[in-house]
């Protein structure tokens, strides 16, 4: 009888234990893993704790040991904090605390990406990304900059105050209060440190200047495949339509550095065959770019300058940006900050406003090294065997033993590609990477100084500290100065230097210097009454240094911005809002006549004729409902494919596709285009007209499918979305009703576009409008998680509250008040 009871006891007991174990384990599910379901669903510990009440009261009193004085934070109705501190370090301490409170998971995750640590939290499937970033020298670079900044007492104290603030919040967290994504992926926040800020800034450098880590190798393939002469036609150095940042005709000073071209360049560089293929696991979007401009009071209705900026980056939730006002006795500043870094990155203060776009200059190059043997202990340099140091990068992997990367370090930098980390055709090559981001930089000091800048001279001093990623800093002041300067550590290069892998056995191909700061392109108060940049080449060919291949520089947004700003007068902030949302496609304006000219309409069938008519009647805008934008894009892409596909098909190695202007500019000059011929049909010589007809026929089939699935409208066709950083659809915002796209001022593409829109009118009391595709609270369980997305898509802006403490205390829109004290 006893056994009859013991058996069910043991059975039910085992079932209980078994169920608990199953619910306490991350189970595999379709390529990823479930959370620990028992923990995740537990209402007192798991995700339900992150379901923030819609009526949450964000007010409170916080006691923090490291504060020197009292800090008041007023949160407005959009959950933007207005920080009023008695000293600067307290302000950054509280900024760190607030970043952590609202964006902790995101800011830590970004440093896991940058530092090559994703395998630690996600598992082996992210090892390729981790290896790539480690070997590119991301951790190494962050160490260099950190060592440099440790020597700067003011910045060291700033970084530490910020970091202490982040940690104060992390320490205050109860286990059930950790952000949602930690619970989903099952790990815990760790302590923050200034080093993590430097890692995050390395990620921004990679995002904005790291394209060469993939493209230099692919460009080398293309040069070897096509031969240098044809390569030059596909990837030119100049484009006729260019309207540079510094107006054409500007005189430049005599250069301080005249880079010497190596003597053996034709054989050793342009003709040399180094096959390579590599694809970064995370490739920076080639159109990471932005618009910024400032108009002087002579062109505005108020007589005061207006400054505008919209940086185009990957569109993500939580957003890269966090809106904040910082008010201390030394400065009063408002704008977009990076969760993970102190200060305001793009914004304005009581006296000036500033914004940035990416310079796009090539500051990352590869050198082909010759090692004595596979131990990589000695390499040939200037005729002698030189000792290489070694650097170990240990990658922890969830549930697996560590992976150790052994990297040889050379005069150029780390050997990224070697026998252990290679690509399909590296044939045992050793490629060292040299990158300005890995040299000691000043990190956020430029922004720290801009936050406090009072005038043009302060702006010039602040920006002169900036090294990487190179930016176009636009500026406007209440005293009616406007300016733009392209600043960064730019390499003084000879023509085509670093576009391909360079020989690394001696110093002749090495960088010969950094261009002196006052020779960088800049312009102040030009006669035309405005300054602007849109990632185009900063200068024309009379500038004494080589900028890089033209395909690094988007051409068309700059043309339309300058055209519009030239036409506009009596400008108001509202006019600027419309300009940032402008969907006119200047590329299509130039390309449509070329396309139509090459089509014989009599040879078209009814369907093809219908689509050609749509293009003919199109208003050249990429508005949400425009079918013409979709049809034009399909026709033109199809034409490019007809022209080049046959030439590319025979290469086994990845090669970059020529940029949009290449075909257009050639066809605008010349109706006979050599690449038009299909090399697979030796008995027939195709012309561009043949290609155009073939393109229309092929594209029409595709267009009919789009029409059948009701996605011929441009907005539906391109389908803009804002993805969660983990790309989980339920945490993302999909199918957003917004037009725009490539070549347009409103550069909103499927997953990429204006990540922050800002308009600052420098009247006595500053009038500013902002919006970004996200929300202030990074918690997917908060109603403030994506609260700006709909306004952003609709082109609506929020008027910024930029008030002093006394006004904040009684302002009706300040909904919450948090006091921070040290006791």
């Amino acid at each position: 009888m006893l056994a009859m009871r013991i058996v069910p006891f043991l059975l039910s007991g085992l079932c209980t234990v078994g169920l608990v174990i199953a619910l306490n384990t991350q189970l595999p599910a379709g390529g990823s893993k479930t959370p620990r379901l028992g923990y995740f669903l537990s209402p007192q510990l798991g995700f339900w704790q992150n379901a923030e009440s819609a009526n949450t009261n964000f007010s409170g009193e916080v006691k923090l040991a490291n504060l020197k004085g009292k800090v008041d934070v007023y949160m407005d109705d959009r959950l933007v904090p207005h920080i009023y501190a008695e000293n600067d370090l307290d302000a950054y301490y509280v900024e760190g605390y607030l970043h952590a409170k609202y964006r902790l998971w995101q800011m830590e995750f970004q440093t896991y990406v940058a530092g090559g640590r994703l395998s630690e939290i996600v598992g082996e499937e992210r090892l390729p990304t981790d290896r790539f970033f480690r070997r590119l020298g991301m951790v190494y670079g962050a160490e260099q900059t950190m060592a440099n900044m440790e020597k700067n007492p003011e910045m060291k104290a700033t970084m530490e105050a910020y970091s202490d603030g982040v940690n104060a919040y992390i320490k205050s967290l109860l286990p059930q209060q950790i952000p949602f994504e930690y619970k989903l992926l099952d790990y815990k926040p760790e302590a923050w440190s200034p080093f993590k800020t430097y890692l995050f800034l390395m990620y921004m450098s990679y995002d904005l200047t790291g394209k060469g880590s993939t493209s230099d190798l692919q460009m080398t393939n293309a040069k070897n495949y096509f031969g240098y002469e044809d390569f030059n036609k596909l990837f030119p150095n100049v484009e006729d339509s260019l309207d540079p940042i510094i107006p054409k005709g500007t005189m430049f000073v005599k250069p301080a550095i005249v880079p010497q071209t190596p003597a053996n360049i034709d054989s050793a560089y342009f003709g040399k065959t180094i096959n390579s293929t590599a694809m970064a696991p995370v490739v920076p979007d080639k159109d990471n770019g932005s618009n910024n401009w400032a108009v002087s009071g002579s062109k505005t209705k108020s007589g005061r300058p207006i400054l505008c900026n919209d940086p185009h980056l990957g569109l993500n939730l939580p957003s890269l940006w966090y809106e904040v006002q910082i008010n201390t006795p030394t400065h009063n500043t408002y704008g977009a900050s990076f969760p993970g870094s102190p200060a305001v990155i793009i914004g304005f203060n009581d006296s000036i406003a500033w914004g940035v776009t990416n310079a796009g200059r090539d500051v990352l190059d590869f050198f082909d090294m010759k090692f004595k043997d596979s131990t990589m202990s000695e390499y040939m340099y200037n005729g002698v065997w030189t000792k290489a140091t070694h650097r170990k990068e240990v990658i922890k992997i969830k549930g697996k033993p560590d992976q150790v990367e052994d990297m040889a370090m050379t005069v150029f930098g780390p050997v990224m590609y070697d026998r252990a980390y290679k690509n399909q055709s590296s044939e045992g090559k050793y490629l060292a990477v040299k990158w300005t981001a890995s040299t000691p930089g000043n990190a956020v000091e430029t922004f720290y100084r801009l936050n406090r800048a009072k005038n043009y001279d302060d702006y010039l001093k602040a920006t002169s500290l900036w090294s990487c990623p190179g930016q176009n800093f636009v500026f406007a002041s209440k005293t009616n100065d406007i300016a733009i300067k392209q600043q960064g550590a730019f390499v003084a290069k000879w023509k085509r230097q670093g576009d391909f892998i360079m020989p690394g056995t001696d110093s002749s191909y090495d960088w010969q210097g950094i261009i002196p700061i006052d020779e960088n392109p800049m312009i102040k108060n030009p006669a035309r009454g405005f300054v602007s940049s849109a990632n185009q080449m900063a200068v024309d060919t009379t500038y004494p240094y080589y900028l890089g291949t033209a395909n690094s520089f988007p051409l068309y947004r700059g043309i339309i911005i300058n055209r519009k700003l030239t036409e506009m007068n009596g400008i108001t902030p509202e006019d600027m809002q419309h300009l940032q949302m402008e969907n006119y496609n200047v590329f299509a304006e130039m390309a449509r006549p070329v396309l139509l000219w090459n089509v014989d309409e009599n040879a078209l069938n009814a369907d093809e004729k219908k689509y050609i008519d749509i293009v003919k009647n199109w208003n050249l805008k990429g508005d949400y409902n425009e079918k013409g934008a979709t049809v034009f894009k399909c026709f033109w892409d199809s034409l490019e494919a007809e022209v080049w596909r046959d030439d590319y098909q025979k290469s086994k190695l990845p090669m970059p596709w020529p940029d949009a202007p290449t075909l257009l500019e050639n066809l605008m000059h010349d109706s006979v285009y050599a690449f038009a011929d299909n090399i697979n049909t030796p008995d027939k010589k195709e012309t561009i007209k043949d290609d155009a007809m073939a393109a229309i026929k092929k594209a029409t089939a595709h267009l009919k499918e789009l029409e059948a699935s009701n996605t011929l409208e441009w907005g539906k066709f391109k389908d803009t979305r804002v993805n969660h950083l983990l790309k989980i659809p339920a945490l993302s915002r999909l199918h957003l009703p917004i037009g725009g796209g490539e070549h347009m001022i409103n550069a909103t593409k499927p997953t990429h576009g204006p990540s922050w829109r800002m308009i600052v009118h420098l009247t006595d009391e500053i009038e500013a409008y902002v919006v970004y595709p996200g929300g202030q609270n990074g918690n997917p369980g908060s109603k403030y998680y994506d609260s700006f997305v709909d306004s952003w898509a609709a082109g609506k802006y929020y008027r910024v509250l930029f008030v002093n403490k006394a006004a904040a205390a009684k302002h009706e829109k300040m909904k919450w008040h948090i006091t921070f004290t040290n006791s």
Partner: protein, 116 residues
């Protein structure tokens, strides 16, 4: 009724253990087991009491959070898990998961007492 007493005490103890957030989420399995040993019932009733105690606690706590949150997070989680985006199903699943663990522990408790 005995079963109601058992349900209430099961839920109460689980709630109290849940306040100590450094304890593992399954701590209530032990308290449900103990309750079932202390308030002895037939195996079927013990299971039911253990199940309902946690089902009501977890589903109830989830419901309170969810209503205040206006279903923002539950609708997202119910797509991730995937439960068709239904917050009602997610609340029920939450209750059932807690209930099953508790019910099985209570069942074991019932058999233990019997075997004495």
């Amino acid at each position: 009724m005995k079963i109601i007493t058992a349900i209430v005490i099961t839920a109460f103890l689980a709630y109290v253990l849940g306040i100590y957030s450094t304890l593992p989420w399954w701590s209530f399995a032990i308290s449900s087991f103990v309750v079932s040993v202390a308030i002895h019932q037939k195996p079927g009733k013990s299971f039911l009491a253990g199940f309902l105690g946690l089902f009501l606690l977890w589903a109830g706590l989830a419901l309170i959070k969810d209503v205040a949150n206006e279903h923002i997070l539950s609708t997202k989680v119910a797509q991730i898990l995937p439960l068709g985006g239904s917050y009602i199903v997610l609340i029920l699943v939450t209750g059932i998961v807690g209930g099953l663990v508790s019910g099985l522990a209570a069942l074991a408790g019932s058999y233990l007492r019997k075997s004495k």
